[in-house]
């Protein structure tokens, strides 16, 4: 099933690539090859393998048993990632990371919330000081900047 969906996805991608490639102006002028030759080549190749791939995927009978997927975990993980990216800058690096760490551990089945939060806090503070203070790579401080 996954293979059919993905092969259809590749077909779609091939169409998008070709449409976008044809939309690139030739821009030849003094150049022998413009910016669109290579994209057309790649798009054409993608279209060929995508069609073969789709034919193979849809002709093949029911695939051998696929790995069972725990969808709720995947969806919660995606939500956690999206949330983390959104609050990373406004909330601050170590603050957001502590919460994110505990949430991900929970999503993956850990039941020791306090331990996870403490591990997350230690990890977040350690990387924050290592990067922001020692290595000089700025990380978002959040509302309250740590004094040290």
């Amino acid at each position: 099933m996954t293979q059919r969906i993905v092969s259809a996805g590749f077909l779609l991608a091939a169409v998008v690539v070709l449409v976008q490639a044809f939309a690139i102006p030739r821009g030849e002028g003094y150049q022998a090859v413009g910016p669109r030759a290579f994209p057309l080549l790649v798009g054409g190749g993608l279209a060929v393998v995508a069609v073969i791939g789709a034919v193979q995927a849809f002709r093949a009978g029911p695939q051998d048993a696929e790995e069972e997927t725990h969808w709720p975990s995947v969806l919660m993980l995606v939500a956690a990632l999206a949330g983390y990216a959104l609050v990373l800058v406004p909330a601050g690096y170590w603050q957001a990371t502590t919460v994110f760490f505990a949430v991900v551990a929970r999503v993956l089945g850990s039941r020791k919330l306090l331990r996870d939060a403490v591990v997350g806090l230690v990890l977040a503070l350690a990387t924050y000081f290592l990067f922001d203070r020692l290595l000089g790579i700025t990380l978002p401080p959040g509302l309250v900047r740590l004094a040290i």
């Binding site: 102006p25 821009g27 790649v42 393998v49 790995e67 069972e68 997927t69 977040a124």
Partner: protein, 499 residues
Amino acid sequence: MDVLGNLLDGFAHALSLQNLLLAVLGVTLGTLVGVLPGLGPATTIALLLPLTLVFDPVGAFVMFAGIYYGGMYGGSTTAILLNIPGETASIPTTLEGHPMARRGRAGAALATAAIGSFVAGTISTVVITFLAPGMSNIAKLIQPAEYFSIMVLAFVTVTSLMGNSIVRGLSSLLLGLTIGMVGIDQMTGQPRFAFGLPELYEGLSVVALAVGLFAVAEAVSTAASRNRPEQAPVTVDGRIGMTRDDWRRSWKPWLRGTAFGLPIGSLPAGGAELPTFLSYNVEKRLSRHKEQFGQGAIEGVAGPEAANNAAFSGVLVPLLTLGIPTSATASMLLIAFQIYDVQPGPRLFDQQPVLVWTLIASLYLGNVMLLVLNLPLIRVWVKLLSVPAALLTAAILTFATLGVYSISQSVFEVLVAYGFGLLGWVLHRARYPVAPLILGAVLGPLMEVQFRRALAFSEGDPSVFVTRPVSLAILLVAAACLIGPAILRGRARAGVPSA
């Protein structure tokens, strides 16, 4: 040709206190991350990339040499103890190493892997020390049309060797080439595949792509398989070391493995998968203990591990002299070079002699340190395997995010990495290999440059690729590599025994 003088110079740089410490740090961190289940050397480098940002290029590459070897060795530890290969090239190690561990011979399996890697790595490093400068001189003569054809050959061989479907491999590769084209065209300033988003004008960051495809995808996959029972790691009882009999059975496979890995890895067509599998099959055929294969034959660990390590060193030849990476790990190294605005290729040895020779000297050091650090510390690394998967995954995601953000200072790129993580997971589920995708994205822009140069020389005549004899010959080899395996597979399916 004063290779030795250059090498001594390199050692003089690599042996400074700072660089020695960086090498130790690199090997330690590389092993630390590489030992985590599912994280192969490419992922390890992707995750540790930001750490090198603060050092000068020479220091950073010394550290990288350490990470490279450490990550690889950490990967074999996981393969042996957990039966989880971090990358395709570690699969033969799981076949024999894990049964050995189950029978209480983990110590011998780990030792033959470590010592074999050291032997193979050292021999290979000596060979590439003398081979690479010569190759670099040859590479300077290569014209754009031939350069383009060599890249096609590299793509085709890497793709047809990985995974079990050429169509899926090529799909993945071409998707990678497309990703590499996103952004403003360097020659004309024309935006391509940017969909009007200013964030995309600079292109999709290969760092975000690599971190997403390797590290984030691994985390999503852990989440998806949450309900599956976890396999408890095998404990390491007894001493880490080999008996006299183990030595007797290991040394020939080490040398044979090196003989497979080094030449194949050094070709701009190789990669590490083919030599490791070849070595495994040859050891199986030659062994006087055929009945032990599948149940833990030490030759089946010694040979492929040596082949893997030799190929890993060999891969540096096309990477440094042609700028062509032939494995996922090598493309990570190319990304690291690009972060420092260093472009590997024919002129690298002239333009950056200090960098190149220090890097080669650090390969020798990395190998020695690996042996000195890892054999005694193996028990420490093994402890890491008892950390709960939930915490490990949370930590992987934290470091993945930190890496992308600290390099780019951009939340958009973090989201791009997450997006590629999901894509990588979906592709993996559908059995599309992701290594060709990253190769395509990294090498695509360089390939397009050569493509356009070749056509500029021929004044737009596309037949240039097939009318120049060398280019044609390379393309014919590529075509044979593309069609050959399909025919062999067809024959195997039809029940005709292949030679």
